[in-house]
Point group: C2
Chain length 204, copies 2
Amino acid sequence: MTTTAEPRISARRQATRDRVLEAASSVFAERGFHGATVEDICDRAGFTRGAFYSNFSSKDDLVVELSRRHSEALVDRIRRAGKREHAGTDEVLRDVFAALADDSRSKERWLVLTTEFTLHAIRDPEARRAWAAQQRRVRDELVTVVDETVARQGLTMPIPTELFVRAAIALAQGSMTQRLVEPRSLAVGELERTVLPILLGVDA
Amino acid sequence: MTTTAEPRISARRQATRDRVLEAASSVFAERGFHGATVEDICDRAGFTRGAFYSNFSSKDDLVVELSRRHSEALVDRIRRAGKREHAGTDEVLRDVFAALADDSRSKERWLVLTTEFTLHAIRDPEARRAWAAQQRRVRDELVTVVDETVARQGLTMPIPTELFVRAAIALAQGSMTQRLVEPRSLAVGELERTVLPILLGVDA
């Protein structure tokens, strides 16, 4: 958020937004994106619908904002891993894959929510525009941080960074989806650890 | 289907199944997996619920059978591409990628349906067991046909075939999903054509 002339109000506003987003995450996880209503989310957060709509324009808006926060955290983790002093490529990759393949319940919930929202976006033009813009922002940030890391490590990638990032997203989502359907058939991060170094031009 | 002692009945049964599956595909596309009921599908096919349940155990069963047919067609196409006489690796890959990245409306509908069904399977243990078994069958068939093709072309893959197949599925689904949300941001099959030859050990 940009700083305003009234920092106290801004901080309160931020706290309200945080509380609504946290409530939304729980309600989405329990009832699914379609099953959850703005009223459920307001009840959970202890806010009125007026307070909700002075902060968010719709249920869709919540998912886009949650995605913004998720991707910011991911990009930060990758950037920090890439900037570690005197770290070799192996160590950097280990940190990055740990960030990508985090096997937490919250990551699983997030995958289910974004999958539901993607289906919604395919059917609803307004949601699709918002989701497309958000996907592009995430990829642009990831392209920047991958380019920085690759340059620092002196690697030469065999494919354009933009396609590498698309492949990494598809592999991370696909591997988590495969593991949610067949829990014991694939180790956490195994697909990413096997495939992505090859696409980064790292010698096995 | 296995041949029985009463071929006429078997052929009629097959025709009934085909008609129900075709009706199910249309109704799923119009109303989504959750929105479609067995009654809607029977109405569309012009069959009674009795006829439905003597052929399929549930709505879930329809999706598994549709998946079986889709994957059989895909594996056949790949096998035929791989067996073309005197075809070089480039030609074989071109045919295989055309099979994978078929940009038809029916493939898009199929992606949406399988995504809906995957979310259902994550939440419903019985559907998950059926879907996990079907995913494994598809991968096993793809592993066999990839191994045959790779051996015939004299390639050495840098990763195990099972992980290659998982990566190919994740990339094909991910790239189609990305294109459904952001239609003009990625060419049909671009991600697969860029990434998969590297994972097959084909020199660019």
